[in-house]
């Protein structure tokens, strides 16, 4: 994996800084509202990581990620609310369902390439949106969705600690995974799929594994998010805007880098928060979009690449 001292230092600093945030609130340096914003950013970061594992390196663009997040969220919500399954069990079950369900439906789609894959994932999201409203509305809550779902934490600080620990664990895990030969193989896959197959590697297996990891993260984050919010609504979940937010977070942070999407998620969430006094409504997507488009057209590798380049120049290691 080729870990160096500065990797340990950077991760240590990141983890310490994130876990110490609530102390800033105690000291009066930061409002509780900011902590709540950071919770949102943590969940968005996990979704963006999940997207990044599948799409960031391989070039198989998923436009239907809310499909996976939705399975996780609906899974645990229905299990815990309608069947009285304890949350400790319903969340792992929901994650498992996300992985199995996602694999069963999307494995055939991994045979097709490029734009076709993007389209099929988009169609899956739309299908899921239609399905939850029609099939067993007594369980899914139909168009209205579900509310009164058990929440896991009380107060901003506890919610934050849970979200940030999950996010850091997911980020570290995926970052390490992408530093193995598996990560190299995924880069290679995105650059020349035939040559990967011509090097003796089963591309279907590589894609399926990337997909499983992606589904695991999406299911996990979706399940915990629903137990944080206490409710879920299909229109908000299976919305092209949420696909957009996830992809933009990953892209402007830096696709394929895992840490980039985390940066992107925090950047986007705080951008929105700072803009709130000036732009209270739907304008935010206009701003998101404009920022994303400009950044994407001029630096497709995102903030991560900009920071990396800056650091290298700083230390004089070209």
């Amino acid at each position: 994996m080729n870990l160096r001292w500065y990797h340990f230092a950077a991760w240590g600093a990141l983890i310490a800084a994130m876990l110490l945030m609530p102390r800033l609130v105690d000291l009066g340096l930061m409002g509780r509202g900011t902590l709540r914003t950071m919770i949102q950013a943590c969940y968005l970061a996990m979704f963006a990581i999940s997207w990044d594992v599948l799409s960031g390196r391989t070039g198989y663009i998923s436009f239907g990620h809310p499909f996976l997040i939705g399975i996780g969220a609906y899974g645990t919500a229905i299990l815990s609310k309608k069947f009285g399954v304890p949350v400790e069990l319903s969340i792992p079950l929901a994650v498992l369902i996300t992985m199995i369900g996602g694999l069963v439906v999307l494995l055939p789609a991994l045979r097709i390439k490029g734009s076709y894959f993007a389209l099929v994932t988009l169609a899956f999201m739309e299908l899921m949106y239609q399905l939850v409203q029609v099939i067993r509305p007594d369980l899914t809550g139909g168009t209205r969705g579900l509310s009164g779902i058990k929440t896991l934490t009380r107060g901003a600080e506890n919610g934050y600690m849970l979200a940030v620990s999950l996010m850091l664990a997911v980020a570290l895990g995926c970052w390490l995974l992408m530093r193995t030969r598996f990560g190299t193989a995924l880069w290679a896959l995105g650059q020349n799929e035939e040559a990967v197959s011509g090097s003796g590697l089963s591309t279907i297996r590589l894609k399926a594994m990337a997909f499983l990891v992606s589904a695991f993260v999406a299911g996990l984050a979706g399940a915990f998010l629903v137990h944080y919010n206490g409710s879920l609504a299909p229109r908000a979940m299976f919305d092209i805007n949420s696909v957009f937010t996830i992809i933009v977070a990953a892209l402007i942070g830096g696709a394929g880098t895992i840490l980039g999407p985390v940066l992107g998620a925090f950047f986007l969430t705080f951008l929105l928060e700072w803009l709130r006094p000036f732009l209270p409504g739907a304008e935010r997507f206009l701003v998101y979009g404009a920022v994303a488009l400009v950044l994407y057209m001029y630096q497709p590798k995102g903030i991560y690449a900009i920071i990396e380049g800056g650091l290298k120049r700083l230390w004089g290691r070209a």
Binding site: E194, S199, R205
Partner: protein, 246 residues
């Protein structure tokens, strides 16, 4: 580290076009065979069928005793057959070392994750095909055509083949680079590697092969010692573009 490659009654049709017409030949373990013929004769199509990139219309392909024509490309590579491409196919955004690493990887995600890269082997392969130490960290975007062919050779070797199919490995290379690749092929032959080589550069090809097979329009027209094949009237005619009737 060698195996026999046997192609029997291979036929490939694309719509109305017969690209491979009842092709049969055997490459014995440790032997090196040249596949020659004019442009569009169907040499590369035979390679694609051996590797499973195109499925043949009929016929069989054996590696040793085993029939491989129902297997996927990665499964065939595990059986020990591997090829290079006429147009090199590097991974452009990762380093030379990482390109070779992909070839060295086992086809098991678990092992990819749990075991680290074998950097010594990567370096050994890169140096063997003629790269310098400093080239390991360069990306293919910075490489010349000759370097890309070397990289192609290195990645093919990395899959640990018993039979290597080389497709136009000398095209676009300088005299020095041709010498490097030729020396590498000779060394591998001495170690018992089996080769099937396609090349337009007959002068570079001749010393590397034990015998030659000439094909034209998907059909085998001559087989035997290089000098005999090249003297064959049909072969001369096909190279001159007149077909078999001249």
């Amino acid at each position: 580290m060698s195996a026999r490659l046997q192609v029997s009654n291979l036929v490939k049709r694309f719509g109305g076009l017969t690209a491979t017409n009842d092709m049969s030949f055997t490459v014995e373990p440790g032997e090196s065979v040249g596949l020659i013929g004019p442009n569009g004769a169907g040499k590369t199509t035979i390679f694609s069928q051996i590797m499973g990139e195109h499925r043949q219309t009929s016929g069989q392909i054996h590696m040793g005793e085993q029939e491989i024509s129902a297997l996927s490309t990665p499964a065939r590579i595990r059986r020990g057959v591997s090829r290079t491409y006429q147009v090199p196919r590097p991974f452009p955004e990762i380093t030379v070392a990482e390109n070779i690493r992909v070839g060295l990887m086992p086809d098991s995600v678990w092992q990819m994750v749990t075991r680290g890269a074998d950097r010594d082997r990567e370096r050994e392969l890169a140096l063997a095909v003629g790269f310098a130490e400093a080239d390991l960290d360069r990306t293919p975007a910075e490489l010349s055509m000759g370097d890309l062919r070397k990289l192609e050779m290195a990645r093919t070797l990395a899959t640990d083949p018993k039979v290597m199919l080389l497709d136009e490995v000398f095209a676009g290379l300088t005299v020095g680079e041709i010498a490097t690749i030729s020396a590498l092929v000779q060394k591998l032959r001495d170690q018992g590697m089996t080769f099937l080589i396609v090349s337009h550069d007959l002068k570079a090809l001749e010393p590397l092969i034990d015998r030659a097979i000439a094909i034209d329009r998907g059909t085998k027209i001559a087989e035997g010692a290089y000098s005999e094949v090249i003297a064959d009237a049909g072969v001369r005619a096909s190279y001159l573009g007149g077909g078999g009737d001249a």
